[in-house]
Amino acid sequence: MKPSDAGDWPADGPLDETDLQILADIRDLFQDADPMPPDLPERIRFSLALRDLEVEVARLAAEDREMLAVRGPEQTRTITFDSDSLTIMIRIDQNRDGTARVDGWLAPPQRREIELKTAGGALDTASDERGRFAFASVPPGTAQLVVRPAEQGASGSGRSVVTPALIL
């Protein structure tokens, strides 16, 4: 038996209540089978709270976690973000007091103002001429890097480069 499309419910017929009910049932099905993590919208809202209206998005390109047996369960994470104009690499080490140390490199190397947005407020620093920067003590939780536009006259795009929010 082969069901036919041209039966009682033709493809070119108008959507009716039963169609809408079926769609609602499909929604319930996938909602249960594959739910979005409940905290994701909050992380997204955090990452969108920027004073920059024009931003260049740095996408997560690679993430490596390295177990450091010597230091027990503590982990070092290395994360690379790529945007059109910049590559940002960061290394995250856990401090003994529960905070994290973040070391970063910009490529191509350049001096830029850098902000690390955290739930407890913004931390500010700047990269040196080799593109290096560091935040010695970052509270645990959600964090997002914002690389401010290059000084006027430089070859910068004039837009801030932002990463997605990370959990430190």
């Binding site: 017929g13 079926i22 594959d34 994701l40 990452s47 969108l48 998005v57």
Partner: protein, 178 residues
Amino acid sequence: MSAAAAGSEEALGQIVTELSPLLWQVARAAGLATGDAEDVLQTVWLRLLSHWDSIRSPSSLTAWLVITTKREAWRVRAAGRRQLPVDQDQFTVLPDEGPGLEEQAIIDDQRRMLWAAIDRLDRRCQELLRIIAFAPRPDYAAVAARLGMRPGSVGPTRGRCLAKLRALLASGPEVSPA
């Protein structure tokens, strides 16, 4: 929407809450692992900040978010950053049967029939219906069009995929040949 475009965090936050569940399904239907899907959703919303100029209406906003999520998902898959385990079919649109689905007792017959019927649709229809089911109703047509379906596929008309699904549901469970 105009308040969000003008930089209102509250207005944008409301749109994020409303539409993220839809984009989650788009990313997962494209075969992304959950961690990758989370990254892709963040990237898409951040990209929106620089794309308000190209968006004319709530429907075009939804359609832009859906197609951008799909494209970002392809990009991640092409990079092969975090491959799904090889024993999983990367092109499956239906999620794996998790513990929830193994508890057959709590799934009534109707749901099981719906699941079985969706399973018999072609992949394109599975993906379309999964996505449309999470879209705001006024945006069905714009989303379907942006996904490359024929005009009139879902909304205002029923479209081929829903017609097929209804026929499958009406025909009841079939004994498939071994």
